[in-house]
Amino acid sequence: MTTNRPFQWCPSDRPLSVEVTHHPTGVLVHLCGSATMERCDELTARLSDAAQGRPALIVLDLGDLDFICSLGLGSIVAVYLRAMKHGGRVVVSRPAPAIREMLELTRLSHLLAVYDTAEAALSGSA
């Protein structure tokens, strides 16, 4: 599960957008832009919405996420805890190298399996 894409941080700081789509095996949440401090309440709310129907699997697709702060990581942990309560799983796909490094530094990669593609994450294959 390696990613060879170049460093992705974008100084233009795209606003955060969150798109939720429902699939037979789970819910795919596509995050795009920067999860900066003032946008994390919105992120928490959108992730909470995604967990609303108690899906068995929530895939957080981070391929277009340029930046995330600790509040944003907290939003991800919150949806992880919520899913765990009813036996669901939360995994991530396609993190840019800088985001992957943060997941490893904080050891959140121990909680959240990391996949190379959203399709692999939705199918549960390595």
Binding site: F7, W9, M37, E38, C69, G74, A98, L105
Partner: protein, 131 residues
């Protein structure tokens, strides 16, 4: 630079410092690190230090040279003991939503020092050899 205790207002010093660093040729990896540390320092000052009190201010001082980026963030809160903040990566604390900010600042900056009873943080990042 003095700003009110809101996360929206906290973006202004961040943008100013990063623009200046970008103009001086700092690499994206360094800008990412400084951006992250600034977000964490400003979040701590606004939310935990000043408790989002609109009557309290956050003061930011900075210096960007061709060699280093230095930032000092001060709040008007009661302070805290930075060495008393638990390690967020231990198995018991890993599933908690909060507590990663200081650890990230220390991981991404070359120097992080708390002063004035924890109400002020000094951070420094050196330009890399390849920049």
């Amino acid at each position: 630079m003095e700003i009110p205790s809101t996360l929206r207002a906290a973006r202004e010093p961040e943008d100013v410092i990063l623009r200046e660093a970008e103009a001086r040729g700092y690499a994206e990896e360094t800008l990412f690190a400084v951006k992250l540390a600034l977000e964490e320092a400003m979040t701590n000052a606004v939310k935990h230090g000043n408790d989002c009190d609109p009557g309290k201010r956050v003061t930011v001082r900075y210096r960007v040279t061709d060699e280093t980026i230095e930032v000092v963030v001060r709040d008007e809160g009661g302070g805290f003991e930075p060495d008393g903040v638990p390690d967020p990566t231990t198995p018991d604390r890993l599933p908690l939503p909060n507590g990663r900010g200081i650890m990230l600042m220390r991981a991404y900056m070359d120097q992080v020092h708390y002063r004035r009873n924890g109400t002020e943080v000094y951070m420094m990042k050196r330009k890399g050899a390849s920049e």
